[in-house]
Symmetry: C2
Subunit: 148 residues, 2 copies
């Protein structure tokens, strides 16, 4: 689709990981180059790059381990499958099935993300409250007598 334009080193540099990391993700079935050079070197498309970025996002933002991420990625792959089957004209029941599954997985992930969002928000508000107290304290301590 996008053309297999990037070599592994370029992908690594663009995403901010090492080539080892990308190969490791491939070992685990998280990503795979959408093509190969005549000699057998990996060639990545723009979507592949996005794939690696997504893995990193799920890792850093949500703190998921790679096996969990794998499940999510596989789910998204199945959805891609669905799209293709849709265009190819697969039977109705099958479509329904896969689509409902995709929705379920998406909902679960959304739930977790929402939960995390809420908890971080609460945490931030704690910190904000502290910040206010500190600054109030600073003003009290440092004010040259009182302006009255």
């Amino acid at each position: 689709m996008t053309g297999e334009t990037y070599r592994i080193g370029q992908v690594a540099e663009r995403v901010g990981v090492t080539t080892r990391t990308i190969r490791y993700y491939e070992e685990l079935g998280l990503v795979s180059p959408s093509g190969h050079s005549p000699g057998g070197a990996r060639r990545y498309s723009e979507e592949d790059v996005a794939g690696v970025r997504r893995i990193r996002e799920l890792q850093e933002l949500m703190g998921f381990d790679l096996q969990t991420i794998r499940r999510i990625v596989l789910a998204e792959r199945r959805l891609q499958e669905l799209r293709e089957q849709y265009r190819a004209g697969v039977d109705e029941a099958r479509r329904q099935e896969i689509l409902r599954e995709a929705i379920a997985i998406n909902d679960e992930l959304r739930g977790e993300v929402r939960d995390k969002l809420d908890r971080i928000q609460a945490f931030l508000e704690e910190l904000n409250a502290k910040a206010v107290r500190y600054r109030r304290f600073l003003r009290v301590t440092s004010s040259p007598r009182s302006t009255a």
Copy 2:
């Protein structure tokens, strides 16, 4: 202050970690029992329990490693120090110094938390958008002809 009421196993159970974890945190200087039994067993106060909880929060919510958490914890300890010095009546300059440092550390942490919050929010919105698309697709696919 609160009394040293808990044994390590009780703390572990309440927080949802193992005793090994608590001892490991102690090794790293993240927590320490506020007392000991005559025979040398660790005794924890309610605040100590809160301390362990906080470490877990920083780990799970923010994804910090234990060294980073150590820095944060140490900063908070210094603030506690300040409070005591304040009550004891330390000199003005010193107060200012420590307080400003505490504020700086709090601000840095707040910044990171805000950043993470924003990024997760963006991520959630992506997921929400996807959810809408999926459901729209489901409706299209499953509707029995069209109600018109």
